[in-house]
């Protein structure tokens, strides 16, 4: 299997805080990769660096063979990387369908003869709307297509965010805590949807604190600690690795002292 997304020695400091220190991770094409680590270990910062929401101090990000270091978010999205946010973000005063069309606009824009496109074309052609409805059916919120996004519950917003990042057929989807703050049934639903999409060829990189969710879903898990990827392997390996226990529970030396 080839590597789809790769970071190479990415460094980032905020003031005096080293958020990422020579952080290198790899995500294989067609896999579901997990990224775990204690709070403040740099998981979301790494997402931000990959997707253009901040500039890396040093190091590179590659999508396939293409270097995408420090590209702006819209370009990163154009290259096929979609992401969701830890604190779910939807366009609250647009309808659910309009939210979906925003996600499709990039692919609509790049279709056809670009020089002659009409800037005042109505948003969302029939094909786009059909695809949006299919995706909303898939995630189970199609009934709300005409409602304003601000009327959705938190869980529904999570589903909407998952739906609209799929509109442009991304090669890889970065999910920042998809299971955070929602009920167990919905967590199971989201896990199922991720598996379905993965079976259709979408690659995933998931940041999550819910260990059952990560271990049950991911092919490969990378552990971040103090901005560095300390270990990477299958869930079985990760479960038993002492460095992971160190990262989460404190080091062995600490245990000795206590």
């Amino acid at each position: 299997m080839s590597v789809l997304l790769r970071t190479q020695d990415v460094c980032k400091t905020f003031g005096g805080v080293q958020a990422l220190a020579d952080c290198s991770i790899e995500v294989e094409q067609g896999s579901i990769a997990g990224l775990i680590g204690p709070n403040g270990s740099g998981k979301t910062t790494l997402f931000n660096m990959i997707t253009g929401y901040g500039r890396v101090d040093r190091g590179d990000v590659f999508l396939g063979d293409r270097k995408i270091t420090n590209l702006p978010p819209d370009k990163v999205f154009g290259h096929g990387i979609s992401r969701t946010f830890q604190l779910t973000r939807v366009f609250s005063r647009l309808t659910v369908m309009e939210n979906m069309i925003v996600g499709a606009h990039y692919s609509e824009r790049t279709q056809g003869v670009r020089r002659f496109r009409n800037p005042l074309a109505r948003a969302g052609g029939p094909a786009t709307r059909q695809r949006a409805m299919d995706l909303l059916e898939f995630t189970g919120i199609a009934d709300h297509a005409g409602a304003l996004a601000e009327t959705l519950s938190y869980g529904q917003r999570k589903l909407l965010e998952l739906s609209y990042v799929l509109m442009a057929n991304p090669a890889i989807v970065l999910l920042d805590e998809p299971a955070g703050g929602i009920n167990p049934t919905l967590i199971a639903t989201i896990a199922d949807r991720i598996r379905d999409l993965n079976a259709q060829g979408t690659t995933f990189l998931i940041v999550e604190h819910n260990m059952d969710f990560v271990m049950g879903l991911c092919d490969r898990v990378t552990v971040l600690d103090y901005g560095n990827a300390v270990v990477s392997g299958s869930p079985e390996v990760i479960r038993s690795d002492h460095r992971v226990l160190d990262a989460y529970l404190g080091t062995a030396e600490d245990d000795d002292e206590s």
């Binding site: 997707t51 253009g52 929401y53 702006p72 978010p73 819209d74 990163v76 999205f77 154009g78 979609s82 992401r83 946010f85 973000r89 939807v90 366009f91 609250s92 005063r93 647009l94 309009e98 069309i101 925003v102 996600g103 606009h105 990039y106 609509e108 824009r109 800037p119 005042l120 074309a121 109505r122 948003a123 969302g124 995630t139 189970g140 919120i141 199609a142 009934d143 709300h144 005409g146 409602a147 009327t151 959705l152 519950s153 869980g155 529904q156 589903l159 609209y164 990042v165 442009a168 929602i182 009920n183 167990p184 049934t185 919905l186 967590i187 199971a188 639903t189 260990m211 059952d212 049950g216």
Partner: protein, 378 residues
């Protein structure tokens, strides 16, 4: 949504069905009807009411409709509140003034310069936007005010603008009784054109991107929206229309002075009118300008003390921002919806507001009562 229609079927008389179906059917039809009626009234207004004071107020009102619609096209759609609209107004006025002066253009030929006003305002809007649109919210507002004062200072101090003496427009040898009418129709055409443009943009892919930026710019960028480019395009379009407003106003008044070409009250007025009518809506700026500009002019005429009218203007601005900032259109619209659906509320149909009331759990497959899933406990 059709969700509101289903509860009615139990007591399905013809009327109730018609009522339930009405909102979806008439939303656009009603808009077009109101637009057509307003346009007809606006067209016949100077033919019926020939009083010159009234038609002069008519010209000012139509100019403000155009300016408020254009301001809303950028600020209302993107949420970036600009208090620098007068930059474009003044640029438009001075551009045609300076051009007429230097090219010795006289009489009716001056109107051939109008495209130049739009062009100059558009050219000014590019660096203005590139500077100001790098920041958001309060900082953006402050930057627009600062840039506005830079332009006013330039108008006061540059040689080309005539300093504090300003610039006079070419003299028009028109009959005084009907002098206002061509200006009125020009302003009306501009206002109607701006409104149609705003309507086209709002429904377009471009407009959707603007509204996505209003709701969450960073999220929009992560979905492929080229935020800077889109914001700047709207800013330039808005500025060009306001530049035309300034040029027509200049020909109408016949003179431009720095303090009136670059007038902070103009900035406040277009914002107040839009907020009063409904920020970010299509009808808001139209309604706001149609109500507020004649009121303000009437007030100025009645109360000869100009400070009094400015005091009332300022107080109104405060009241609108504090208590009515969502505007007449959205608030009255909600009252009407509440009134229309009052029967359904009384009938206690839980489904009536299905979309509005966030469900306890996720819909679809996840909506079954959540039984403990087979997953091991954390």
């Amino acid at each position: 949504m059709s969700a509101g229609a289903s509860p009615d079927t139990g007591r399905a008389t013809g009327i109730s069905r018609w009522r339930a179906a009405r909102p979806a059917l008439s939303q656009t039809t009603r808009g077009w009807t109101v637009a057509a009626v307003l346009l007809v009234l606006a067209v016949i207004f100077p033919q019926v009411i020939t009083n010159q004071v009234a038609t002069q107020i008519g010209v000012d009102t139509m100019l403000f409709v155009a300016a408020a619609v254009a301001w809303n096209l950028f600020s209302g759609f993107t949420g970036y509140i600009s208090l620098g609209a007068a930059v474009f107004f003044g640029t438009g006025a001075y551009t045609v003034g300076i051009a007429a002066l230097h090219w010795n253009i006289t009489g009716d030929a001056e109107f051939a310069l109008l495209p130049l006003a739009a062009l100059a305002a558009g050219v000014v809007a590019v660096p203005f936007g590139l500077i100001a649109l790098r920041v958001r919210r309060h900082t953006f507002v402050v930057i627009t005010i600062a840039i506005f004062f830079i332009f006013q200072l330039m108008a006061f101090n540059l040689n080309i603008t005539g300093g504090s003496v300003g610039i006079s427009a070419p003299f028009l040898t028109w009959a005084p009784e009907t002098f206002n009418n061509p200006f009125y129709y020009m302003a009306l055409a501009l206002a109607a054109g701006a409104a149609v443009l705003a309507w086209l943009i709002r429904g377009s892919r471009f407009g959707l991107q603007l509204r996505a930026i209003r709701d969450d710019e960073d999220r929009a960028r992560g979905l492929g929206v080229r935020a800077m480019r889109v914001k700047l395009a709207a800013f330039v379009i808005s500025g060009m229309v306001i530049g035309l407003v300034g040029a027509i106003w200049f020909f109408f008044i016949g003179q431009v002075l720095p303090q009136y070409g670059f007038d902070p009250l103009f900035d406040l007025s277009v914002a107040l009118m839009t907020f009063f009518g409904g920020f970010g809506t299509l009808w808001g700026p139209i309604l706001g300008a149609l109500i507020l500009e004649p009121s303000e002019q009437y007030l100025t005429l009645r109360v000869s003390n100009s400070y009094a009218s400015e005091l009332v203007w300022g107080t109104l601005f405060l009241l609108v921002i504090l208590f009515f900032s969502r505007g007449v259109i959205p608030i009255v619209g909600e009252w009407m919806t509440a009134w229309r659906t009052r029967g359904q509320r009384l009938a206690g149909q839980p489904a009536a507001d299905e979309a509005a009331a966030p469900g306890p759990a996720a819909p679809g497959p996840a909506q079954q009562p959540s039984t403990p899933s087979g997953r091991s406990a954390r």
